[in-house]
Amino acid sequence: MREYKVVVLGAGGVGKSALSVQFSQGIFLDSYDPTIEDSYCKQVDVDGRPCMLEILDTAGVEQFTAMRELYIKNGQGFLLVYSVTDRSSLLELSKLYEQVCRIKGTTTVPIVLAGNKCDLAHARTVPFQEAKHLAHKWGTNSFYETSARTGVHVNDIFVDVVRQIQRRDSASSSSNASTHSASRVPTPTEKHRHTHSAASTIGGYETDRRWSSKRSSGKHSEAGLSTTYSKHKQKKKKAGGLCVIL
């Protein structure tokens, strides 16, 4: 079973632990116990495949930010949590987002934006659209308003981030095929399963590949659109003598 390392980030008191515990244990924590660093495991089925999530719940208290760098380096997907009752907690996420992108060296990191405490309608200070807009700025649709108390969208955010990790993995595993497979040492799990049940492993790989090719053909058609749109500009560029064909 593939393991997914998900890191939960966000300001203090927005409900990172509450979301993580609600997801992993189905309990709502109503007392406040500031987190230093907690970890949870939970197995879920995503699109029919069992996945093991390893969730790292981090400190929101700013005094601990020195640890973030390490967390981000080790994480594969990120839940960025704010509270709909606290505008400044949303504002803090922009910096966090930049930090994630910087450490990962790309803007295409698996990220889900979650606005927690949406059950507290009377105390809301962040409109849905404002956060939606921020998500768009980050180039993602993965935005949910959640409630750790009622459980609304709690599963969805974790499943969404897993899907994003899978998508990215399958994209890079087929694109970097040559370099990647050479450098990658099989994990004990894989070796283990190779020796025990080679057939199932291969089956797993096949599903990956099928899935990713579907995905890329989708991208292809999008790309087609953008080409026609930009034809004019290209003409000009060529006239400028940009290309010298050998």
């Binding site: 008191g13 116990d33 660093e37 504002l91 694109s175 004990p188 283990h192 050998l246």
Partner: protein
């Protein structure tokens, strides 16, 4: 409650007579003595600097060294704060540069930030303006409520530069009692308003707010740093050196560890595995091998956590006053707003400040508190995190619902809870400073040399903030703040960084006359002044005599001491002092009737002896403090070097990038273009040539780098790219076709040019065979090469 009323009273500025009356009436039994007592404080605070110069014994020298050191630490920590801000800024800018999100103009801004050296000293040309600002900053310094109000109005983004001015300029002397007390008064006001606006008890002091940022900055000043070092560094260093000490007690992780070990032992032979994987947390927790492994670790953890706790509890007396005072405020504010709160809940809040925001961050990330040199290795790091979690659990009443395995160390919480609550309550047990503060304030008014070393941009930024928030800060148009600001006119624009300079801004108040004679203001009789002067002079004389001198024998005969000094021809200074002391003693005699005189001289003798007795222990204390502050100064200097080295790294990177970009006058066509494949390479000898790396056409298409491919479908599989980076910021992309020795085309790309294209809205680049998406291309190149490069 009492605290708050005193503050507002001091804001209302009692008259001198009121102050003196209050002071005198506070001594119920012996007015004169109590008045003298506070006068001693006054006298000492006024003349501390001068009196040390006159005496030259070990104590005086140690005190002088201490003062110099404190000044250096204050100055250096401001420099570090500024450097840290620059590093943080550059860190994020460079990150954006790498992601190519930064506009060209901004690159220039980054460059100036890097190239700019120390801010120059300068002077303010306009004297009238200088006076105005002197007045304004005097008001801000002495009436902390203005700063407190601004603090609440600012956003997190604005707070850093504001706090810089407040903590390192306006109240920049970290060891000066008056400034420290004013700063704490400001804290109190901000804390109080946070309590006022809190909707429920549980939401208190939780979020990251300007208040929490203020607290962080405060704990990071000299005294907080030296405390952390003294109480934590030994144990943390000891733990950090034990690289093999695995104290993981999370069954799942322990299980994985066992699995890894067993896998290594089995050497790939699956038959010999004793355990299976993966398992659920419950299964792991029930596994016998796991339980066996955890048991000794739990007892080791309990032992270490207890030794941390004992050290912390034992350090009560060395916790910096300001930090204890903040704890005290948290307690009294909580009790006032929620009178029915249980004591344990109050302790939780105190713990949320003292442990969560002060002690535990230093345990979890000791490298960022300069307690160890680098990020601890995996095992020690985990051990430290577990210790911090245990302490946190103790300070807060942890429920083990989150991580059930932490219940295995619950003994720590159960055993120590009463001890911890007592410690947290003891922390709050410090005296208030309002009395001293009032006195200090008047001393400040009598001093003619209070000034700030401040940059012109700090002044302008503060002016702008005040102007912006004036209606909230001072709704009353006749208030001092309104009057000053009206006279100052509109805020001048902030200067470019390169033109910024530091000035010496003398502070004074135009609303209050300088106090020429403190004696008159405080209703001190001539006799009191004589008494004080005689006391201080006699102490100076005795201190400058060798300890073997017969006149130093107890009981002291003050007349004998004075005469002895007066009759020392070898030392004219001492002789003069002796003569003066004799005069004073005689004058004192004249001032009182006979019986009063004896009483007075006896009192004087007692006070001198008492003071001398204290001096011995003071010297010990000074030496201890010196030692710890020297250590602090060393670490601050180390940190400064580290920050400088980081800036150097950025500088060299940026230099590289800019070197690549070449002169700005050349057109885009000259720089992004295709060159003959066997044309001259542009290799820079100094930096490593990276690549070429091979990528298939499909791979790049999946990355979104290639948006259109004009090669027929059946030949696409034979199309591939070589990408290399001869120097940072330049990339050579060559398009090859399988079987052909020569490439189809080669593309020379430069970071700056690509940035410019994006800036101009150029989305795609047509390379005939393929069409490339420019932003995607950039991102891809950076991702591939930035890691390898750095």
């Amino acid at each position: 409650m009492a605290a708050v009323t005193t503050v507002s009273a001091s804001q209302a500025r009692p008259t001198m007579a009121e102050l003196a009356a209050r002071r005198i009436s506070s001594g119920t039994r012996n007015n004169r003595q109590s008045k003298r007592y506070s006068l001693t404080a006054l006298y000492v605070s006024m003349s501390a600097a001068e009196s040390d110069v006159e005496v030259d014994d070990a104590l005086a020298r140690a005190q002088k060294r201490l003062r110099d050191l404190k000044a250096k630490i204050s100055a250096q920590s401001k420099k570090n704060f500024l450097l840290e801000r620059d590093v943080r800024y550059l860190d994020s800018r460079i990150a954006l540069l790498i992601q190519n999100k930064i506009a060209l103009e901004e690159q220039t801004e980054v460059a100036t930030r890097l190239e700019e050296s120390e801010i120059q000293d300068g002077s303010f040309p306009d004297h009238r303006k200088l006076d105005g600002y002197g007045n304004l900053f005097f008001l801000l310094q002495t009436e902390p409520r203005y700063i407190a109000t601004i603090c609440r109005l600012l956003s997190m983004a604005e707070i850093d530069s504001f706090l810089q001015t407040v903590m390192f300029t306006i109240y920049g002397n970290q060891y000066e009692q008056r400034e420290e007390h004013l700063l704490l008064t400001m804290f109190q006001s901000v804390l109080a308003s946070q309590f006022d606006t809190a909707t429920e008890f549980s939401s208190l002091l939780r979020a990251n707010t300007p208040v929490s940022r203020m607290m962080t900055t405060y704990t990071r000043r000299g005294p907080g740093q030296s405390y952390l070092k003294s109480v934590l560094s030994e144990q943390i260093n000891q733990l950090s050196s034990q690289l093999d000490l695995d104290l993981e007690i999370n069954p799942l992780k322990v299980y994985e560890g066992l699995y890894r070990d067993s896998y290594n032992r089995a050497n790939g032979n699956a038959e010999r595995f004793s355990i299976e994987r993966p398992v659920s947390a419950e299964d792991a927790a029930a596994n016998m091998e796991v339980l066996e492994a955890i048991r000794p670790r739990v007892s080791t953890l309990l032992h270490i956590a207890n030794s941390f706790l004992s050290k912390i509890i034992g350090s009560l007396e060395s916790v910096p006053y300001g930090i204890r005072w903040i704890c005290k405020q948290i307690r009294s504010l909580t009790r006032r707003k929620y009178p029915s709160t249980e004591d344990s809940a109050v302790c939780t809040l105190i713990g949320a400040f003292f442990f969560l925001r002060f002690i535990n961050p230093a345990i979890v990330t000791p490298h960022s508190y300069m307690l160890v040199d680098s990020l601890p290795a995996e095992n020690p790091r985990r051990a430290l995190t577990l210790i911090a979690k245990m302490l946190q659990g103790l300070a807060n009443k942890t429920v083990y619902a989150k991580e059930p395995y932490m219940a295995s160390v619950s003994a720590f919480v159960d055993e120590n809870k009463p001890r911890m609550n007592k410690f947290l309550n003891d922390l709050c047990d410090v005296p208030d400073f309002y009395e001293n503060l009032e006195l200090d304030q008047y001393v400040a008014l009598s001093k003619k040399d209070i000034w700030l070393s401040i940059t012109i941009n700090e002044i302008y930024s503060m002016h702008a903030l005040l102007e912006q928030h004036l209606s909230t800060l001072a709704p009353d148009k006749s208030s001092r703040l309104s009057v000053i600001l009206r006279d100052m006119g509109t805020t001048p624009p902030v200067l470019p960084r390169s033109e910024n300079f530091t000035i010496r801004l003398p502070l004074f108040s135009r609303f209050e006359a300088q106090i020429e004679s403190l004696g008159a203001a405080l209703d001190i009789t001539q006799a009191d002044v004589l008494f004080m002067e005689a006391k201080s002079l006699l102490i100076q004389i005795i201190r400058s005599l060798p300890s073997t001198s017969p006149v130093r024998a107890r009981p002291l005969d003050l007349h004998r001491v004075a005469s002895f000094a007066a009759a020392t021809p070898k030392d004219p200074v001492l002789g003069k002092k002796g003569a003066r002391a004799l005069e004073l003693l005689n004058e004192l005699k004249d001032h009182y009737s006979l019986q009063d005189e004896t009483a007075d001289i006896i009192m004087l003798t007692e006070e001198v002896e008492e003071e001398l007795a204290q001096l011995g222990s003071i010297r010990e204390k000074v030496l201890v403090e010196l030692k710890s502050l020297e250590a602090v100064f060393e670490t601050i200097k180390d940190h400064n070097e580290y920050l400088h080295s980081q800036l150097e790294t950025y500088k060299s990177y940026l230099r590289n990038v800019r070197m690549q970009s070449g002169p700005k006058k050349s057109s885009i066509n000259d720089r992004v273009g295709l060159v003959a494949i066997h044309g001259k390479g542009r290799q820079e000898p100094k930096t490593p040539f990276l690549g070429p790396y091979k990528f298939s056409q499909q791979a790049l298409q999946k990355e979104g780098v290639i948006v259109v491919c004009n090669v027929p479908q059946n030949r696409v599989n034979n199309l591939f790219f070589y990408i290399s980076s001869p120097t940072p910021g330049t990339f050579v992309v060559s398009l090859n076709y399988k079987g052909r020795i020569r490439g189809l085309l080669e593309l020379n790309l430069k970071l700056d040019d690509l940035l410019e294209m994006i800036g101009n809205g150029v989305e795609v680049l047509d390379l005939e065979y393929v069409v490339v998406n420019v932003p995607r291309m950039l991102e891809f190149l950076q991702r591939q090469f930035s890691r390898r490069r750095w």
